[in-house]
């Protein structure tokens, strides 16, 4: 494996500190044995470096190339400011969702309930405003509160009661959809939402971009700070890397895992509210379509920057990549089945590529 090469060259500086039988993650070259003069032959330098770049930035490069190709193929429609805004607007809700999902995945927990949570958030905010006559500001706060409570419930059952996160959140999703239907009576709502509320997502502001894009950007920055620049984020990565070692190092593992589920619940609430605000209407179970794209984007993101590790910058690239491909293929008049094939194929490729990165 070419990627291991770079690592092993640097190891050479100190001999004998790579265990062999003991260290099962290191399979290939066991040990700094002897220093050899051959090591610094120039031809040998480039392979590993190129492989390293390909491993870390392969997806980013592919993403940029994809944009260039679409721009060349459709210079009049794709390569425009309006299109850029359209793509970003389309990408904003899945972006928020994927960023929230990254937090829980970093700790090796799964959350499959957020699709239903988005639907519940949409149904709840509509019902609160239209049927119950609650002011939209308060309605939003209440829905965010529901997201937090759902996150706490998921987290408590998984981290404290030891439930399998996959099954618990799958079941929770079903419960949430039930709550949504009970709340809304499964009626589609077309009117009654105040204009101010509709402006939350689509109102335009700085640089002519709509609010939705700025909200997503704000959440990206917050999540990036949280995961990569705070102690909390470090602890979360430690829990994902080795939960028992983290616990024996004195970390409070269970509360942190609950926080991960709260992040997902909050993100889903925000996406549900934006979904209603943007369309101005509610239809039942509107969140289900967010489930796969969000997972797809986060796993794509684990193939870039820090291969094999979920990370916020990677997730951002993952979401944008999927968005660009979808818009670009639509502009090329591709049939919708092709879009499915391409998006699915890219996800599979990316996940496998990031596995390679992990093994190195």
């Amino acid at each position: 494996m070419a990627e291991t090469a770079a690592i092993h060259r640097s190891e050479n500086a100190n001999e004998g500190w790579e265990s062999v039988g003991e260290n099962q993650t290191v399979t290939e070259p066991p040990a700094g044995a002897t220093n050899t003069a051959v090591a610094s032959t120039p031809q040998r330098e480039w392979g590993p470096i190129a492989a390293n770049i390909a491993g870390k930035y392969g997806l980013l490069i592919t993403f940029l190339l994809t944009i260039v190709v679409f721009c060349l193929l459709r210079p009049d429609t794709f390569a425009t400011w309006d299109n850029a805004e359209a793509i970003l607007t389309l990408a904003a809700p899945p972006m928020i969702m994927a960023v929230g999902l990254t937090v829980v995945l970093v700790m090796q927990d799964f959350d499959l309930s957020f699709g239903a949570m988005i639907g519940l958030a949409g149904g709840a905010v509509t019902t609160f405003i239209v049927s119950d006559g609650i002011g939209w500001g308060l309605a939003i706060l209440m829905v965010l509160g529901i997201g937090v409570v759902v996150g706490i419930l998921n987290g408590f059952m998984v981290a404290y009661l030891g439930g399998n996160s996959f099954i618990i959140t799958l079941a929770m999703g079903t419960v949430l959809t039930g709550v949504e239907f009970a709340l809304t009576g499964q009626d589609t709502v077309f009117q009654g939402l105040p204009l101010d509320f509709l402006d939350i997502a689509s109102g335009s502001s700085i640089l002519g971009f709509n609010n939705q894009i700025w909200i997503a950007l704000g959440i990206i920055i917050l999540a990036w700070l949280l995961m990569d620049r705070t102690e909390l984020g470090r602890y979360m990565y430690a829990i994902g890397g080795n939960e028992e070692a983290a616990r024996l190092s004195g970390l409070r593992v269970r509360p942190y895992r609950v926080i991960g589920f709260i992040a997902v619940g909050l993100a889903a609430s925000i996406v549900g509210i934006l979904m209603i605000s943007l369309s101005g209407s509610y239809s039942p179970n509107g969140g289900a379509t967010y489930l796969l794209p969000a997972f797809a984007a986060v796993f794509l993101g684990a193939a870039v920057f820090r291969p094999g590790e979920f990370n916020i910058p990677g997730t951002v690239i993952g979401v944008l990549f999927l968005g660009v491909i979808q818009t670009g293929l639509i502009m090329l008049n591709t049939e919708s089945y092709v879009i499915n094939l391409v998006q699915g194929g890219i996800l599979i490729a990316a996940v496998l590529v990031s596995r390679l990165g992990q093994r190195a």
């Binding site: 190891e11 040990a31 700094g32 044995a33 050899t36 590993p48």
Partner: protein, 513 residues
């Protein structure tokens, strides 16, 4: 298969295997013959594992050849190695724990079937039974592998080799985590296999085993064998010199144990610690600056006792006092806050975060010390690096820089890394659970030195080990645990390997305290 018809001779000649910047093998030779137990020694990274991987078909040498009974032979993949009759029992047990014993013994050899597809369970179990009988292993072929002890699993791996008609069996650190009686049984099995003409390659860091069991030894250093000869003609000191390549003796027996002054103040007191069926009513105390050894067989409750004291598991009764003050310890976090730290036995599983760099591992328990400004929980990577660098230097952790992935460290350096993260946390009691397991001789010496250093600085050190010579050479006082009870206490001159072993097996109970 009974005695192998032709005496087997495997020769590796001039093997070279180069990875970018590293020569893992540098002209290595090795001759292995049927009917002999061949010890393979060398520091971690000396090339032992690479040459085994070449024989297993997992690594292809750049130069050199392998002769089997004089015939040049290539081993392109593990399947070819199996066809040659080579079997490998790795340190990490390579077996499938959700299958039964019989399914594991015959794994990859073709199960007996009806109509070419339905497995005949009974016939399969019978075949497995035959292989297990040769090992005198009383293991039910129908039992799920997961229900077996580590020792039994190792026997299953060997039975797999027998069922495959193996002519050469390679065992990599086979006795790690086995008890003495299990080791004795394994030795018996290996000797009987040798007498049947099977070639046995035995990799171990434990010199006692090498001297006890092997007929001949090869010592590897820097990718080549630097010595090959009869075990009987070697002294312990000579062998150590060959392994290290230096004329210094690092034998533990030559060390002087660390003795604490009688008037030193009490640091830790444990009273009536109990976890029913595991740890029964254990009380002891530890003085400041003392190095206290804990001896006992695997399963005697020594690891569990320490986990209770530290807060890794919850006890049902018992108290922990630090400097006379009663502590409430229910989680590891409580233990750490009270000033107790644990370096766990399972270094890989519990010791470090191996997706992290060395720096992030070292700073993990004390992140608030490295904040950018004031009390805001934003870590400063610069401060972290400075602290990590200082600790890496102080403990002589061999790593090119602190951002290096922790998973690439050797066992000894991983152990030092785990220690490094606790060193500056103000902890008073350091519990080391099997800290030298799987570490080469030079690394062990470093670990002893670090432990003694802590004791000299007034810390309390608790040292759990299965290698009693280590305790004899380093501890001023040793407690012995058996079946969950504290059964004996030895001090000073009375600490010998014989007294400790005796107390573990209840042979010599008049020494019990």
């Amino acid at each position: 298969m009974n005695a192998v018809s032709a005496p087997l001779k495997i020769e590796a000649r001039g093997l070279v295997k180069e990875y970018p910047g590293v020569r893992a093998l540098n002209g290595a030779d090795l001759t292995i013959e049927g009917g002999r137990i061949h010890g393979l020694l060398g520091k971690n990274g000396a090339g032992k594992s690479t040459i085994i991987k070449v024989l297993a078909g997992a690594v292809h040498p750049d130069e050199g050849e392998i002769l089997v009974n004089g015939e040049p032979t290539s081993i392109p993949d593990p399947h070819a190695a199996g066809a040659l009759g080579f079997a490998f029992a790795h340190q990490e047990l390579m077996d499938v724990s959700n299958l039964t014993v019989a399914e594991n013994v015959l794994l990859g050899l073709g199960y007996p079937t009806v109509a070419g597809s339905l497995v005949r369970t009974r016939a399969m179990r019978k075949q497995a039974r035959q292989a297990l009988d040769r090992l005198e292993a009383d293991i039910d072929p129908a039992a799920p592998l997961a229900s077996l002890s580590v020792a039994e699993r190792r026997l299953v791996v060997i039975a797999h080799g027998l069922a495959a008609d193996a002519r050469m069996i390679v065992l990599d650190e086979p006795t790690a985590s086995l008890t003495d009686s299990e080791i004795e049984h394994l030795d018996k099995v290996l000797r009987s296999l040798r007498n049947d003409g099977v070639a046995i390659v035995y990799v171990s860091h434990r010199l006692d085993e090498i001297f006890n069991l092997t007929d001949e030894v090869s010592v590897f250093r820097d990718g080549a064998n630097v010595f090959e000869g009869k075990t009987a003609e070697l002294s312990r000191a000579e062998l150590i010199d060959r392994i290290t390549g230096e004329k210094i003796s690092v034998d533990v027996e030559a060390r002087t144990p660390h003795v604490v002054a009688a008037e030193a103040p009490e640091l830790l007191r444990v009273e009536n610690m109990t976890l029913p069926g595991v740890v029964e009513n254990v009380s002891f105390e530890l003085k400041a600056g003392e190095m206290l050894g804990i001896a006992g067989l695997v399963g005697s409750g020594r690891t569990e006792l320490m986990r209770l004291i530290f807060g890794a598991d919850k006890s049902s009764a018992g108290e922990v006092y630090l400097r006379g003050e009663k502590q409430k310890i229910r989680t590891p976090r409580d233990g750490i806050e009270a000033g107790i730290v644990l370096l766990p036995e399972d270094r890989k599983g519990h010791g470090g975060v191996f997706t992290f760099s060395v720096r992030k591992n070292i700073t993990l328990p004390s992140m608030p010390k490295f904040r950018l400004v004031g009390p805001a929980p934003f870590p400063s990577a610069r401060r972290e690096k400075a602290a990590a660098r200082e600790l890496v230097q102080r403990l002589e952790i061999k790593v090119p820089n602190v951002e290096h992935p922790a998973r690439h460290l050797s066992g000894g350096n991983q152990q030092k890394m785990v220690l490094a993260k606790w060193l500056d946390t103000g902890a008073d009691v350091f519990i080391f659970d099997e800290p030298t397991q799987g570490i080469d001789i030079g690394g062990k010496e470093d670990v002893y030195r670090l432990m003694t250093g802590l004791a000299e600085r007034g810390k309390g050190v608790i040292f759990i080990s299965s290698e009693f010579t280590e305790l004899v050479g380093t501890c001023g006082r040793v407690l012995v645990m058996r079946e969950g009870h504290l059964v004996a206490e030895f001090k000073g001159e009375s600490i010998t390997e014989e007294t400790l072993v005796g107390a573990c097996y209840e042979h010599d109970s008049e020494a019990a305290a």
